[in-house]
């Protein structure tokens, strides 16, 4: 299809195609395609645009076209990140009993990736200031990072960061103690 368009268009050297792919989790998604002051917004699965000398020309692509044009690129896509959540006893960097059991699953996920890198993200509930929660979140994340290293994960593959109280799992008013917000997320990618 691209080749035919090229044969017709004068400026074929710089033509190209953009296709919006269906989202796995059904989130709303869009890509805007701008050529100079001309803009097309793609916001439905398989909505597509082809660059032409007159600006982006919208059309509807198909699974077949995507497979033939982007098959190699799509088959090189890395595995998506997998996320696990561990919960803490209030105000401490100690896991709840259930969370201690989740550790085996995390190690299995790490083991099945060819070059795993692991992000340990500390979260807190909304009790206290941003500053103290950033520090507490970091402390929790560092504790989990240290535990993963003790379990044999190379130190260079694990990073600890804190989101403090910026990403509450259970939305609450500021100052509310909520056990489900005191957690560490382990992102394996």
């Amino acid at each position: 299809m691209t080749l035919i368009a090229c044969a017709i268009l004068a400026a074929c050297a710089s033509s190209g195609t953009v296709v919006l792919l269906p989202e796995k989790d059904g989130r709303p998604a869009a890509v805007s395609v701008k050529q100079g002051d001309k803009e097309v917004v793609l916001d439905k699965p398989y909505a597509a645009a082809k660059a032409t000398p007159l600006g982006p020309r919208p059309y509807t692509s198909s699974t077949e076209e995507v497979r033939s044009q982007f098959g190699s690129a799509l088959s090189a896509q890395p595995s998506r990140a997998t996320s696990f959540t561990l919960y803490f006893v209030e105000g401490k960097d100690e896991f709840t009993e259930e969370s201690k059991k989740a550790v085996d699953q995390i190690l299995a996920e790490i083991a099945q990736r060819p070059v795993p890198d692991v992000l340990v993200v500390g979260h807190t509930d909304a009790v206290g200031s941003d500053q103290s929660n950033d520090a507490l979140g970091q402390q929790r994340a560092e504790a989990v990072r240290a535990a993963l290293i003790r379990l044999g994960i190379p130190a260079g593959d694990v990073r600890a960061i804190s989101r403090g109280k910026r990403q509450l799992a259970v939305p609450t008013a500021d100052g509310v103690a909520e056990p489900h917000n005191r957690r560490v997320e382990i992102i394996v990618r």
Binding site: T2, C6, C12, A13, S14, S15, G16, T17, V18, V19, L20, L21, P22, K24, R27, P28, A29, A30, V31, S32, V33, K34, Q35, L42, A51, P56, V66, Q69, F70, G71, S72, A73, L74, S75, A76, Q77, P78, S79, R80, A81, P114, V115, D117, V121, Q131, S132, D134, A135, L136, Q138, Q139, E142, R159, I161, S162, R163, G164, R166, I187, R189
Partner: protein
């Protein structure tokens, strides 16, 4: 030492550790997770082989040969993968994992690219762009594919 003073001291320690971590890792923005056939990175005028596990820096240009394809996971969980005969340039990348704020500009000069956007695009629409020789794509939390002939 009181609990609050201990907490404050710990915060200072953590901040200095964070500072070190940022310095050490400042240059690393992503990692090659999949590499098939010929894949290279142009960095500082040199061409280096881009095997699985190699870490990426801002301004790296990733190239694939006629039999090549490559998959990259960026620090914000964006996934980029390119098919054969592609030239993908990581022009600009900033990302703060604490606030999820950042900016990601890449260019596809040639070839094919599939993108699943990550936390940068989720936090702020249009904080991620992909340029082609003819167009600028603004990303709004998305999975898409782009080709340049």
């Amino acid at each position: 030492m009181s609990i609050s003073r201990m907490r404050a001291w710990r915060a200072v320690l953590m901040l200095s550790l964070l500072g070190l971590a940022t310095l050490a890792g400042a240059a690393e923005i992503g990692q090659i997770k999949v590499s098939k056939g010929q894949v290279t990175i142009e960095r500082d005028g040199k061409s280096i082989p881009a095997g699985v596990g190699v870490r990426l820096q801002t301004s790296d240009v990733v190239k694939t040969g006629p039999d090549g394809s490559v998959g990259i996971t960026m620090d914000d969980d964006s996934l980029l993968s390119a098919g054969p005969n592609s030239v993908l340039s990581l022009d600009r990348y900033t990302f703060d994992p604490t606030t999820n704020k950042g900016r990601f500009d890449a260019s596809l000069n040639k070839g094919t690219l599939a993108v699943i956007s990550g936390r940068i695009a989720k936090q702020a629409p249009d904080a991620m762009t992909v340029r082609t020789p003819t167009a600028v794509l603004g990303v709004r939390g998305t999975e898409f594919a782009v080709s340049v002939d």
